[in-house]
Amino acid sequence: MATAQANSLLNSWIKLYRTKQRSAVLSLCGAGLALAVIAVFSLTVGSTAIPLQDMLGMITGVITHQPSASAYDASLYTILFTIRLPRIFMAGLVGCALAMAGAAYQGMFRNPLADPYLTGISQGAALGAVAGFLLPASLPVALIPVLGFLGAVISVIVVFFIARTGKTVPVTTLILGGVAVGAFLASFTSYLLIVSGDKLHGIIFWLLGTFSLADWSRVAIIAPYILAGITVLMLMARPLNVMQLDEEQARQLGINVEKTKVLILAAATLATASAVCFCGAIGFVGIIIPHAVRLILGPDYRLLLPFSALAGAGFLILADTAARTLLAPTEIPVGVITALIGAPFFLYLLRQKKRGIF
Protein backbone atom coordinates (compact mmCIF):
# COMPACT_ATOMS: atom_id res chain seq x y z
CA MET A 1 0.00 0.00 0.00
CA ALA A 2 2.70 2.41 1.08
CA THR A 3 4.89 1.55 -1.89
CA ALA A 4 1.95 1.89 -4.29
CA GLN A 5 1.40 5.36 -2.90
CA ALA A 6 5.07 6.18 -3.21
CA ASN A 7 5.06 4.95 -6.79
CA SER A 8 2.12 7.08 -7.80
CA LEU A 9 3.80 10.07 -6.15
CA LEU A 10 6.98 9.39 -8.05
CA ASN A 11 5.11 9.00 -11.31
CA SER A 12 3.19 12.21 -10.83
CA TRP A 13 6.42 14.12 -10.21
CA ILE A 14 8.15 12.56 -13.19
CA LYS A 15 5.14 13.46 -15.31
CA LEU A 16 5.20 17.00 -13.94
CA TYR A 17 8.86 17.43 -14.83
CA ARG A 18 8.33 16.00 -18.31
CA THR A 19 5.42 18.36 -18.86
CA LYS A 20 7.54 21.22 -17.59
CA GLN A 21 10.34 20.42 -20.02
CA ARG A 22 7.95 19.97 -22.92
CA SER A 23 6.13 23.21 -22.22
CA ALA A 24 9.49 24.97 -21.88
CA VAL A 25 10.51 23.82 -25.36
CA LEU A 26 7.11 24.77 -26.77
CA SER A 27 7.07 28.22 -25.22
CA LEU A 28 10.65 28.77 -26.38
CA CYS A 29 9.47 28.06 -29.92
CA GLY A 30 6.52 30.38 -29.31
CA ALA A 31 8.81 33.14 -28.10
CA GLY A 32 11.05 32.65 -31.15
CA LEU A 33 7.99 32.98 -33.37
CA ALA A 34 6.91 36.13 -31.54
CA LEU A 35 10.39 37.56 -32.07
CA ALA A 36 10.10 36.82 -35.80
CA VAL A 37 6.73 38.57 -35.93
CA ILE A 38 8.18 41.58 -34.12
CA ALA A 39 11.09 41.68 -36.57
CA VAL A 40 8.78 41.48 -39.60
CA PHE A 41 6.53 44.18 -38.19
CA SER A 42 9.51 46.42 -37.50
CA LEU A 43 10.76 45.93 -41.06
CA THR A 44 7.52 47.26 -42.49
CA VAL A 45 7.26 50.46 -40.48
CA GLY A 46 9.47 53.52 -40.64
CA SER A 47 9.82 56.85 -42.36
CA THR A 48 8.97 54.95 -45.56
CA ALA A 49 6.41 52.24 -45.02
CA ILE A 50 7.14 49.01 -46.85
CA PRO A 51 3.98 46.99 -47.55
CA LEU A 52 4.17 43.55 -45.94
CA GLN A 53 3.60 41.75 -49.26
CA ASP A 54 6.41 43.62 -51.01
CA MET A 55 8.74 43.00 -48.13
CA LEU A 56 8.06 39.27 -47.97
CA GLY A 57 8.38 39.14 -51.74
CA MET A 58 11.79 40.82 -51.70
CA ILE A 59 13.06 38.63 -48.88
CA THR A 60 11.93 35.37 -50.50
CA GLY A 61 13.43 36.66 -53.72
CA VAL A 62 16.81 37.06 -52.08
CA ILE A 63 16.62 33.76 -50.22
CA THR A 64 15.70 31.80 -53.34
CA HIS A 65 18.23 33.73 -55.46
CA GLN A 66 15.64 34.96 -57.92
CA PRO A 67 16.74 38.22 -59.45
CA SER A 68 13.25 39.59 -58.87
CA ALA A 69 14.50 42.78 -57.28
CA SER A 70 13.66 44.65 -60.42
CA ALA A 71 10.00 43.92 -59.76
CA TYR A 72 10.21 46.19 -56.70
CA ASP A 73 11.09 49.79 -56.20
CA ALA A 74 14.88 50.02 -55.96
CA SER A 75 14.73 52.50 -53.08
CA LEU A 76 12.46 50.17 -51.09
CA TYR A 77 14.96 47.41 -51.76
CA THR A 78 17.80 49.56 -50.45
CA ILE A 79 15.87 50.66 -47.39
CA LEU A 80 14.96 47.09 -46.55
CA PHE A 81 18.32 45.39 -47.07
CA THR A 82 20.94 47.99 -46.33
CA ILE A 83 19.19 50.06 -43.66
CA ARG A 84 16.42 48.30 -41.82
CA LEU A 85 17.44 44.66 -41.81
CA PRO A 86 20.96 45.21 -40.42
CA ARG A 87 19.53 47.62 -37.88
CA ILE A 88 17.06 45.00 -36.68
CA PHE A 89 19.80 42.38 -36.49
CA MET A 90 21.93 44.80 -34.49
CA ALA A 91 19.10 45.62 -32.08
CA GLY A 92 18.30 41.93 -31.69
CA LEU A 93 21.91 40.94 -31.01
CA VAL A 94 22.44 43.77 -28.54
CA GLY A 95 19.18 42.95 -26.79
CA CYS A 96 20.20 39.28 -26.47
CA ALA A 97 23.61 40.20 -25.10
CA LEU A 98 22.43 42.77 -22.55
CA ALA A 99 19.49 40.74 -21.27
CA MET A 100 21.52 37.55 -20.86
CA ALA A 101 24.47 39.31 -19.26
CA GLY A 102 22.07 41.03 -16.86
CA ALA A 103 20.36 37.74 -16.00
CA ALA A 104 23.69 36.03 -15.37
CA TYR A 105 24.98 38.90 -13.21
CA GLN A 106 21.81 38.98 -11.11
CA GLY A 107 22.36 35.31 -10.30
CA MET A 108 26.10 35.48 -9.84
CA PHE A 109 26.02 38.59 -7.64
CA ARG A 110 22.81 37.40 -5.95
CA ASN A 111 21.67 40.98 -6.27
CA PRO A 112 18.44 42.08 -7.97
CA LEU A 113 19.97 45.44 -8.87
CA ALA A 114 22.78 43.90 -10.89
CA ASP A 115 22.89 44.82 -14.56
CA PRO A 116 25.46 44.26 -17.32
CA TYR A 117 27.09 47.62 -16.53
CA LEU A 118 27.76 46.77 -12.89
CA THR A 119 31.48 46.21 -13.34
CA GLY A 120 32.28 49.68 -14.68
CA ILE A 121 31.99 48.45 -18.25
CA SER A 122 29.67 51.22 -19.50
CA GLN A 123 31.78 54.02 -18.05
CA GLY A 124 34.89 52.40 -19.54
CA ALA A 125 33.22 52.14 -22.93
CA ALA A 126 31.94 55.71 -22.67
CA LEU A 127 35.36 57.12 -21.86
CA GLY A 128 36.96 55.20 -24.71
CA ALA A 129 34.32 56.19 -27.23
CA VAL A 130 34.13 59.85 -26.16
CA ALA A 131 37.90 60.07 -26.44
CA GLY A 132 37.50 58.54 -29.90
CA PHE A 133 34.97 61.23 -30.88
CA LEU A 134 37.40 63.96 -29.88
CA LEU A 135 40.39 62.59 -31.80
CA PRO A 136 41.62 64.76 -34.65
CA ALA A 137 39.51 64.35 -37.76
CA SER A 138 42.47 62.91 -39.65
CA LEU A 139 42.11 59.63 -37.74
CA PRO A 140 39.54 57.10 -38.97
CA VAL A 141 36.07 57.16 -37.38
CA ALA A 142 36.34 53.39 -36.99
CA LEU A 143 38.55 54.06 -33.99
CA ILE A 144 35.53 55.09 -31.90
CA PRO A 145 34.09 51.59 -31.39
CA VAL A 146 37.56 50.11 -31.00
CA LEU A 147 38.35 52.56 -28.21
CA GLY A 148 34.91 51.96 -26.71
CA PHE A 149 35.47 48.20 -26.70
CA LEU A 150 38.96 48.56 -25.23
CA GLY A 151 37.75 50.98 -22.57
CA ALA A 152 35.03 48.54 -21.57
CA VAL A 153 37.27 45.49 -21.40
CA ILE A 154 40.12 47.27 -19.65
CA SER A 155 37.87 48.71 -16.94
CA VAL A 156 36.47 45.25 -16.18
CA ILE A 157 39.97 43.77 -16.03
CA VAL A 158 41.07 46.51 -13.63
CA VAL A 159 38.02 45.94 -11.42
CA PHE A 160 38.65 42.19 -11.49
CA PHE A 161 42.24 42.50 -10.32
CA ILE A 162 41.32 45.08 -7.68
CA ALA A 163 38.65 42.73 -6.32
CA ARG A 164 40.76 39.58 -6.38
CA THR A 165 42.12 38.36 -3.07
CA GLY A 166 44.33 35.32 -3.40
CA LYS A 167 42.51 32.79 -5.55
CA THR A 168 39.02 34.13 -4.96
CA VAL A 169 37.00 37.09 -6.21
CA PRO A 170 34.42 38.13 -3.61
CA VAL A 171 31.35 39.44 -5.43
CA THR A 172 30.71 42.34 -3.06
CA THR A 173 34.24 43.65 -3.66
CA LEU A 174 33.63 43.22 -7.37
CA ILE A 175 30.44 45.34 -7.18
CA LEU A 176 32.06 48.06 -5.07
CA GLY A 177 35.18 48.04 -7.22
CA GLY A 178 32.98 48.43 -10.30
CA VAL A 179 31.14 51.39 -8.77
CA ALA A 180 34.38 53.10 -7.75
CA VAL A 181 36.23 52.54 -11.03
CA GLY A 182 33.10 53.56 -12.93
CA ALA A 183 32.81 56.82 -11.02
CA PHE A 184 36.51 57.52 -11.54
CA LEU A 185 36.24 56.99 -15.31
CA ALA A 186 32.97 58.95 -15.51
CA SER A 187 34.74 62.03 -14.14
CA PHE A 188 37.08 62.01 -17.15
CA THR A 189 34.15 61.54 -19.49
CA SER A 190 32.32 64.47 -17.91
CA TYR A 191 35.34 66.67 -18.42
CA LEU A 192 35.68 65.57 -22.05
CA LEU A 193 32.00 66.39 -22.61
CA ILE A 194 32.52 69.94 -21.42
CA VAL A 195 35.39 70.50 -23.83
CA SER A 196 33.77 68.62 -26.70
CA GLY A 197 32.25 71.73 -28.29
CA ASP A 198 30.22 71.10 -31.41
CA LYS A 199 30.65 67.35 -31.18
CA LEU A 200 28.52 67.26 -28.03
CA HIS A 201 25.28 66.34 -29.80
CA GLY A 202 26.74 63.27 -31.48
CA ILE A 203 28.41 62.18 -28.28
CA ILE A 204 25.25 62.52 -26.19
CA PHE A 205 23.37 60.56 -28.82
CA TRP A 206 25.92 57.77 -28.59
CA LEU A 207 25.94 57.86 -24.78
CA LEU A 208 22.17 57.43 -24.61
CA GLY A 209 22.38 54.55 -27.04
CA THR A 210 21.37 54.38 -30.68
CA PHE A 211 21.23 51.94 -33.57
CA SER A 212 21.34 54.64 -36.22
CA LEU A 213 24.85 53.60 -37.26
CA ALA A 214 23.98 49.95 -37.80
CA ASP A 215 25.06 48.35 -41.05
CA TRP A 216 25.99 44.86 -42.16
CA SER A 217 29.72 45.25 -41.59
CA ARG A 218 29.15 46.31 -37.98
CA VAL A 219 26.70 43.48 -37.42
CA ALA A 220 29.28 41.07 -38.80
CA ILE A 221 31.96 42.46 -36.48
CA ILE A 222 30.04 42.10 -33.22
CA ALA A 223 27.95 39.00 -34.01
CA PRO A 224 30.70 36.41 -33.37
CA TYR A 225 31.66 37.96 -30.02
CA ILE A 226 28.09 38.24 -28.85
CA LEU A 227 27.26 34.70 -29.97
CA ALA A 228 30.36 33.33 -28.24
CA GLY A 229 29.52 35.23 -25.06
CA ILE A 230 25.91 34.10 -24.87
CA THR A 231 26.85 30.50 -25.68
CA VAL A 232 29.17 30.41 -22.67
CA LEU A 233 26.53 32.06 -20.50
CA MET A 234 24.00 29.45 -21.62
CA LEU A 235 26.36 26.68 -20.48
CA MET A 236 26.47 28.28 -17.03
CA ALA A 237 22.73 27.79 -16.48
CA ARG A 238 22.98 24.99 -13.93
CA PRO A 239 25.90 26.48 -11.98
CA LEU A 240 23.90 29.74 -11.86
CA ASN A 241 20.91 27.91 -10.41
CA VAL A 242 22.99 26.46 -7.61
CA MET A 243 24.94 29.68 -7.05
CA GLN A 244 21.71 31.42 -6.16
CA LEU A 245 21.94 29.55 -2.85
CA ASP A 246 25.28 30.97 -1.79
CA GLU A 247 28.83 30.32 -2.87
CA GLU A 248 29.66 27.94 -0.05
CA GLN A 249 26.64 25.74 -0.70
CA ALA A 250 27.32 25.85 -4.43
CA ARG A 251 30.89 24.71 -3.87
CA GLN A 252 29.71 22.00 -1.52
CA LEU A 253 27.30 20.79 -4.23
CA GLY A 254 30.21 20.31 -6.61
CA ILE A 255 30.30 23.64 -8.48
CA ASN A 256 33.71 25.15 -9.15
CA VAL A 257 32.51 28.56 -8.03
CA GLU A 258 35.62 30.61 -8.79
CA LYS A 259 35.96 29.17 -12.29
CA THR A 260 32.27 29.74 -12.93
CA LYS A 261 32.51 33.37 -11.80
CA VAL A 262 35.48 34.06 -14.07
CA LEU A 263 33.74 32.41 -17.04
CA ILE A 264 30.54 34.38 -16.49
CA LEU A 265 32.46 37.61 -16.02
CA ALA A 266 34.49 37.03 -19.19
CA ALA A 267 31.52 35.96 -21.32
CA ALA A 268 29.26 38.76 -20.09
CA THR A 269 32.04 41.32 -20.58
CA LEU A 270 32.71 40.14 -24.12
CA ALA A 271 29.03 40.26 -25.05
CA THR A 272 28.35 43.57 -23.31
CA ALA A 273 31.46 45.33 -24.61
CA SER A 274 30.56 44.26 -28.17
CA ALA A 275 27.02 45.48 -27.63
CA VAL A 276 27.97 48.92 -26.35
CA CYS A 277 30.95 49.70 -28.58
CA PHE A 278 28.83 50.56 -31.66
CA CYS A 279 25.54 51.41 -30.03
CA GLY A 280 26.34 53.04 -26.71
CA ALA A 281 25.28 51.86 -23.29
CA ILE A 282 21.56 51.26 -23.75
CA GLY A 283 20.04 51.18 -20.31
CA PHE A 284 17.26 49.21 -18.68
CA VAL A 285 17.24 46.15 -20.98
CA GLY A 286 19.76 44.27 -18.88
CA ILE A 287 17.92 44.85 -15.64
CA ILE A 288 14.21 44.70 -16.45
CA ILE A 289 14.09 41.92 -19.03
CA PRO A 290 15.58 39.23 -16.74
CA HIS A 291 13.32 40.36 -13.90
CA ALA A 292 10.26 40.30 -16.11
CA VAL A 293 11.14 36.79 -17.29
CA ARG A 294 11.82 35.69 -13.72
CA LEU A 295 8.44 37.00 -12.59
CA ILE A 296 6.69 35.01 -15.28
CA LEU A 297 8.77 31.81 -15.42
CA GLY A 298 10.45 31.50 -12.03
CA PRO A 299 14.11 31.28 -11.04
CA ASP A 300 15.37 28.37 -13.17
CA TYR A 301 18.28 29.70 -15.23
CA ARG A 302 17.81 27.04 -17.87
CA LEU A 303 14.61 28.90 -18.78
CA LEU A 304 15.64 32.34 -17.61
CA LEU A 305 18.66 32.66 -19.92
CA PRO A 306 17.14 31.69 -23.29
CA PHE A 307 13.88 33.52 -22.63
CA SER A 308 15.76 36.62 -21.50
CA ALA A 309 17.74 36.52 -24.74
CA LEU A 310 14.61 36.34 -26.90
CA ALA A 311 12.70 38.88 -24.83
CA GLY A 312 15.68 41.25 -24.80
CA ALA A 313 15.99 41.02 -28.56
CA GLY A 314 12.27 41.59 -29.12
CA PHE A 315 12.17 44.47 -26.66
CA LEU A 316 15.09 46.31 -28.22
CA ILE A 317 13.81 45.81 -31.76
CA LEU A 318 10.46 47.29 -30.74
CA ALA A 319 12.10 50.10 -28.78
CA ASP A 320 14.29 50.95 -31.76
CA THR A 321 11.27 50.91 -34.07
CA ALA A 322 9.63 53.42 -31.74
CA ALA A 323 12.85 55.44 -31.63
CA ARG A 324 12.98 55.87 -35.39
CA THR A 325 9.25 56.33 -36.06
CA LEU A 326 7.68 58.24 -33.15
CA LEU A 327 9.11 61.65 -34.08
CA ALA A 328 10.19 60.79 -37.63
CA PRO A 329 12.16 62.09 -39.38
CA THR A 330 13.85 63.08 -36.10
CA GLU A 331 15.30 60.09 -34.33
CA ILE A 332 15.10 59.59 -30.55
CA PRO A 333 18.01 57.77 -28.86
CA VAL A 334 16.79 54.23 -28.17
CA GLY A 335 18.06 54.44 -24.59
CA VAL A 336 15.41 57.07 -23.91
CA ILE A 337 12.70 54.76 -25.21
CA THR A 338 13.84 51.73 -23.22
CA ALA A 339 13.60 53.68 -19.98
CA LEU A 340 10.38 55.35 -21.02
CA ILE A 341 8.46 52.13 -21.69
CA GLY A 342 10.64 49.83 -19.60
CA ALA A 343 10.21 51.47 -16.24
CA PRO A 344 6.38 51.66 -16.17
CA PHE A 345 6.09 48.11 -17.53
CA PHE A 346 8.41 46.85 -14.87
CA LEU A 347 6.51 48.67 -12.13
CA TYR A 348 3.32 47.09 -13.45
CA LEU A 349 4.90 43.63 -13.16
CA LEU A 350 6.10 44.40 -9.65
CA ARG A 351 2.57 45.38 -8.61
CA GLN A 352 1.20 42.20 -10.15
CA LYS A 353 3.38 39.92 -8.08
CA LYS A 354 4.22 41.51 -4.79
CA ARG A 355 5.41 38.34 -3.17
CA GLY A 356 9.05 39.15 -3.66
CA ILE A 357 10.78 38.87 -6.96
CA PHE A 358 14.17 37.55 -6.09
Partner: protein, 265 residues
Protein backbone atom coordinates in the same frame (compact mmCIF):
# COMPACT_ATOMS: atom_id res chain seq x y z
CA UNK B 1 42.06 4.49 2.89
CA UNK B 2 38.38 5.47 2.52
CA UNK B 3 36.95 8.41 4.42
CA UNK B 4 38.30 11.75 5.52
CA UNK B 5 41.57 12.12 7.39
CA UNK B 6 42.97 15.30 8.88
CA UNK B 7 46.71 15.27 9.44
CA UNK B 8 48.17 17.96 11.69
CA UNK B 9 45.64 20.30 10.14
CA UNK B 10 45.37 23.89 11.36
CA UNK B 11 42.66 26.28 10.20
CA UNK B 12 42.35 30.00 10.42
CA UNK B 13 40.09 32.77 9.23
CA UNK B 14 42.26 35.65 8.15
CA UNK B 15 44.87 35.86 10.88
CA UNK B 16 42.81 34.28 13.60
CA UNK B 17 43.78 30.71 14.32
CA UNK B 18 40.64 28.65 14.95
CA UNK B 19 41.87 25.06 15.04
CA UNK B 20 45.39 23.72 15.42
CA UNK B 21 47.06 20.39 14.84
CA UNK B 22 43.90 18.42 14.34
CA UNK B 23 44.41 14.71 13.71
CA UNK B 24 41.23 12.89 12.94
CA UNK B 25 40.01 9.99 10.85
CA UNK B 26 36.48 9.09 9.97
CA UNK B 27 35.39 5.53 9.53
CA UNK B 28 32.49 4.00 7.67
CA UNK B 29 29.44 3.20 9.76
CA UNK B 30 30.52 5.44 12.60
CA UNK B 31 28.43 8.19 14.17
CA UNK B 32 30.92 10.82 15.29
CA UNK B 33 29.89 13.79 17.41
CA UNK B 34 31.75 17.08 17.81
CA UNK B 35 31.11 18.85 21.10
CA UNK B 36 32.29 22.13 22.49
CA UNK B 37 30.94 25.55 23.41
CA UNK B 38 29.85 28.13 20.82
CA UNK B 39 32.80 29.54 18.92
CA UNK B 40 35.14 26.66 19.69
CA UNK B 41 35.47 25.74 16.02
CA UNK B 42 32.87 23.02 15.43
CA UNK B 43 31.63 24.57 12.18
CA UNK B 44 35.20 25.34 11.12
CA UNK B 45 36.15 21.72 11.62
CA UNK B 46 33.21 20.59 9.48
CA UNK B 47 34.13 23.10 6.76
CA UNK B 48 37.70 21.88 6.85
CA UNK B 49 36.58 18.27 6.58
CA UNK B 50 34.32 19.09 3.61
CA UNK B 51 37.10 20.83 1.71
CA UNK B 52 35.38 24.24 1.82
CA UNK B 53 38.15 25.62 4.01
CA UNK B 54 41.76 24.77 3.26
CA UNK B 55 44.08 24.14 6.18
CA UNK B 56 46.95 26.63 6.33
CA UNK B 57 49.16 23.91 7.81
CA UNK B 58 48.82 20.15 7.55
CA UNK B 59 46.42 18.56 5.09
CA UNK B 60 43.09 16.88 4.64
CA UNK B 61 42.63 13.75 2.57
CA UNK B 62 39.53 12.19 1.06
CA UNK B 63 39.85 8.48 0.24
CA UNK B 64 43.60 8.82 0.59
CA UNK B 65 44.01 11.75 -1.80
CA UNK B 66 44.63 15.34 -0.73
CA UNK B 67 41.21 16.97 -0.90
CA UNK B 68 42.67 20.08 -2.52
CA UNK B 69 43.60 18.00 -5.57
CA UNK B 70 40.15 16.53 -6.12
CA UNK B 71 37.71 18.18 -8.45
CA UNK B 72 34.67 19.70 -6.81
CA UNK B 73 32.27 17.18 -8.29
CA UNK B 74 34.18 14.20 -6.89
CA UNK B 75 34.29 15.76 -3.43
CA UNK B 76 30.56 16.51 -3.57
CA UNK B 77 29.75 12.92 -4.59
CA UNK B 78 31.62 11.70 -1.51
CA UNK B 79 30.89 14.34 1.12
CA UNK B 80 27.55 16.02 1.81
CA UNK B 81 27.31 18.90 4.25
CA UNK B 82 24.19 20.17 5.96
CA UNK B 83 25.03 23.76 6.84
CA UNK B 84 23.53 25.76 9.66
CA UNK B 85 21.48 28.94 9.35
CA UNK B 86 21.79 29.47 5.63
CA UNK B 87 19.48 31.61 3.59
CA UNK B 88 17.74 29.85 0.74
CA UNK B 89 16.43 31.82 -2.24
CA UNK B 90 12.71 32.36 -1.75
CA UNK B 91 11.46 31.56 -5.23
CA UNK B 92 12.62 27.94 -5.39
CA UNK B 93 10.34 25.10 -4.39
CA UNK B 94 11.36 22.38 -1.94
CA UNK B 95 11.64 19.95 -4.86
CA UNK B 96 13.99 22.34 -6.68
CA UNK B 97 16.25 22.61 -3.64
CA UNK B 98 16.35 18.86 -2.98
CA UNK B 99 17.07 18.17 -6.65
CA UNK B 100 20.06 20.51 -6.40
CA UNK B 101 21.59 17.74 -4.32
CA UNK B 102 21.85 15.82 -7.58
CA UNK B 103 24.12 18.49 -9.11
CA UNK B 104 27.40 16.60 -8.69
CA UNK B 105 25.90 13.55 -10.39
CA UNK B 106 24.67 15.39 -13.47
CA UNK B 107 26.54 16.57 -16.53
CA UNK B 108 26.56 20.28 -17.34
CA UNK B 109 23.64 20.17 -19.77
CA UNK B 110 21.85 17.13 -18.38
CA UNK B 111 18.30 17.51 -17.10
CA UNK B 112 17.21 15.74 -13.93
CA UNK B 113 15.74 12.38 -14.93
CA UNK B 114 13.55 9.70 -13.43
CA UNK B 115 16.34 8.41 -11.20
CA UNK B 116 17.12 11.85 -9.76
CA UNK B 117 13.46 12.56 -9.01
CA UNK B 118 13.06 9.18 -7.36
CA UNK B 119 16.17 9.75 -5.22
CA UNK B 120 14.89 13.21 -4.26
CA UNK B 121 11.52 11.79 -3.25
CA UNK B 122 13.18 9.07 -1.16
CA UNK B 123 15.26 11.73 0.57
CA UNK B 124 12.18 13.83 1.24
CA UNK B 125 10.28 10.84 2.58
CA UNK B 126 13.14 10.07 4.95
CA UNK B 127 13.07 13.63 6.29
CA UNK B 128 9.25 13.89 6.21
CA UNK B 129 9.30 16.78 3.79
CA UNK B 130 7.62 15.06 0.87
CA UNK B 131 4.29 16.74 1.62
CA UNK B 132 6.08 20.09 1.23
CA UNK B 133 7.59 19.22 -2.15
CA UNK B 134 5.77 21.84 -4.20
CA UNK B 135 5.86 24.57 -1.56
CA UNK B 136 8.07 27.59 -1.96
CA UNK B 137 11.00 27.95 0.40
CA UNK B 138 9.69 31.21 1.88
CA UNK B 139 6.56 29.40 3.04
CA UNK B 140 8.49 27.04 5.32
CA UNK B 141 9.31 27.25 9.00
CA UNK B 142 12.90 27.13 10.23
CA UNK B 143 12.63 23.47 11.19
CA UNK B 144 11.12 22.56 7.83
CA UNK B 145 13.98 24.32 6.03
CA UNK B 146 16.43 22.37 8.15
CA UNK B 147 14.83 19.10 7.12
CA UNK B 148 14.83 20.19 3.47
CA UNK B 149 18.58 20.82 3.71
CA UNK B 150 19.05 17.35 5.17
CA UNK B 151 16.99 15.92 2.31
CA UNK B 152 19.22 17.76 -0.17
CA UNK B 153 22.32 16.28 1.46
CA UNK B 154 20.78 12.79 1.33
CA UNK B 155 20.02 13.29 -2.37
CA UNK B 156 23.75 13.79 -2.88
CA UNK B 157 24.14 10.09 -1.97
CA UNK B 158 27.52 10.71 -0.45
CA UNK B 159 29.16 8.16 1.79
CA UNK B 160 30.15 10.81 4.31
CA UNK B 161 27.53 13.05 5.84
CA UNK B 162 28.58 16.16 7.75
CA UNK B 163 25.92 17.89 9.81
CA UNK B 164 26.28 21.26 11.53
CA UNK B 165 23.87 21.32 14.48
CA UNK B 166 21.17 19.43 12.57
CA UNK B 167 18.74 19.54 15.47
CA UNK B 168 19.15 23.21 16.35
CA UNK B 169 15.81 24.44 15.00
CA UNK B 170 13.82 21.28 15.54
CA UNK B 171 11.15 20.22 18.00
CA UNK B 172 12.03 17.22 20.14
CA UNK B 173 10.07 14.79 17.96
CA UNK B 174 12.00 15.85 14.85
CA UNK B 175 15.30 15.87 16.76
CA UNK B 176 14.80 12.23 17.64
CA UNK B 177 13.46 11.38 14.22
CA UNK B 178 16.34 12.95 12.32
CA UNK B 179 19.02 11.45 14.56
CA UNK B 180 17.33 8.04 14.52
CA UNK B 181 17.21 8.17 10.77
CA UNK B 182 20.80 9.31 10.38
CA UNK B 183 22.01 6.63 12.75
CA UNK B 184 20.08 4.05 10.81
CA UNK B 185 21.91 5.17 7.68
CA UNK B 186 25.14 4.62 9.58
CA UNK B 187 24.15 1.15 10.65
CA UNK B 188 22.39 -0.08 7.50
CA UNK B 189 24.31 1.61 4.72
CA UNK B 190 27.67 2.12 6.39
CA UNK B 191 27.51 5.90 6.07
CA UNK B 192 30.06 7.83 7.99
CA UNK B 193 28.27 10.59 9.94
CA UNK B 194 30.03 13.51 11.57
CA UNK B 195 27.84 15.97 13.37
CA UNK B 196 28.35 19.04 15.51
CA UNK B 197 25.94 18.96 18.42
CA UNK B 198 25.23 21.27 21.30
CA UNK B 199 22.93 18.92 23.19
CA UNK B 200 25.16 16.74 25.37
CA UNK B 201 22.45 14.19 26.05
CA UNK B 202 21.61 13.69 22.40
CA UNK B 203 25.33 13.30 21.75
CA UNK B 204 25.57 10.72 24.50
CA UNK B 205 22.61 8.75 23.18
CA UNK B 206 23.50 8.73 19.49
CA UNK B 207 27.26 9.03 19.03
CA UNK B 208 29.68 6.13 18.78
CA UNK B 209 32.56 8.49 19.35
CA UNK B 210 32.69 12.03 20.68
CA UNK B 211 35.32 14.67 20.04
CA UNK B 212 35.54 17.50 22.55
CA UNK B 213 37.02 20.74 21.25
CA UNK B 214 38.62 23.25 23.55
CA UNK B 215 40.76 26.27 22.67
CA UNK B 216 41.14 25.11 19.10
CA UNK B 217 42.39 21.59 19.66
CA UNK B 218 40.90 18.18 20.35
CA UNK B 219 40.86 18.11 24.10
CA UNK B 220 39.48 14.64 24.54
CA UNK B 221 37.89 11.91 22.48
CA UNK B 222 36.30 8.53 23.01
CA UNK B 223 32.93 6.88 23.39
CA UNK B 224 30.26 8.68 25.44
CA UNK B 225 30.95 6.66 28.59
CA UNK B 226 34.62 7.57 28.47
CA UNK B 227 34.36 11.29 27.79
CA UNK B 228 31.11 12.57 29.23
CA UNK B 229 31.68 13.05 32.91
CA UNK B 230 31.00 16.01 35.17
CA UNK B 231 34.65 17.03 35.27
CA UNK B 232 35.00 17.12 31.51
CA UNK B 233 31.79 19.08 31.05
CA UNK B 234 32.89 21.53 33.69
CA UNK B 235 36.28 21.91 32.00
CA UNK B 236 34.82 22.55 28.58
CA UNK B 237 31.61 24.43 29.22
CA UNK B 238 32.44 25.85 32.66
CA UNK B 239 29.22 24.62 34.18
CA UNK B 240 28.48 22.28 37.03
CA UNK B 241 26.27 19.37 36.10
CA UNK B 242 25.23 16.08 37.61
CA UNK B 243 25.91 13.14 35.35
CA UNK B 244 23.66 10.15 35.80
CA UNK B 245 23.26 6.96 33.82
CA UNK B 246 20.29 7.01 31.49
CA UNK B 247 17.54 4.82 33.03
CA UNK B 248 17.15 2.74 29.87
CA UNK B 249 20.66 2.27 28.50
CA UNK B 250 22.84 3.67 31.29
CA UNK B 251 24.59 6.11 28.91
CA UNK B 252 25.76 9.28 30.70
CA UNK B 253 23.09 11.94 31.02
CA UNK B 254 23.96 15.46 32.17
CA UNK B 255 21.52 17.41 34.29
CA UNK B 256 21.78 21.12 35.06
CA UNK B 257 20.79 22.50 38.46
CA UNK B 258 19.92 26.17 39.06
CA UNK B 259 22.62 27.82 41.15
CA UNK B 260 20.28 28.84 44.00
CA UNK B 261 19.08 25.29 44.33
CA UNK B 262 22.47 23.62 44.15
CA UNK B 263 23.50 21.87 47.32
CA UNK B 264 19.99 22.00 48.81
CA UNK B 265 18.52 18.75 50.04
Amino acid sequence: MPGIALVNASFRYGRQLILRDINLETSAGEFLGILGPNGCGKSTLLKGMSGLLRPHRGYVTLNGVNIAENNHGYTARNIALVPQNVALPALFTVMDIVLMGRTPHLKLLQYEGKLDISIAIDAMEATRTVQLADKRIDELSGGEKQRVLIARALAQQAGILLLDEPTANLDINYQAEILNFVRQLCRDKGLSVITALHDLNLASQYCDRIIMLKDGYIWRQGNPREVLDAAAIREIYGVDVCVYPHPVNSLPTALVTPRDMAGSN
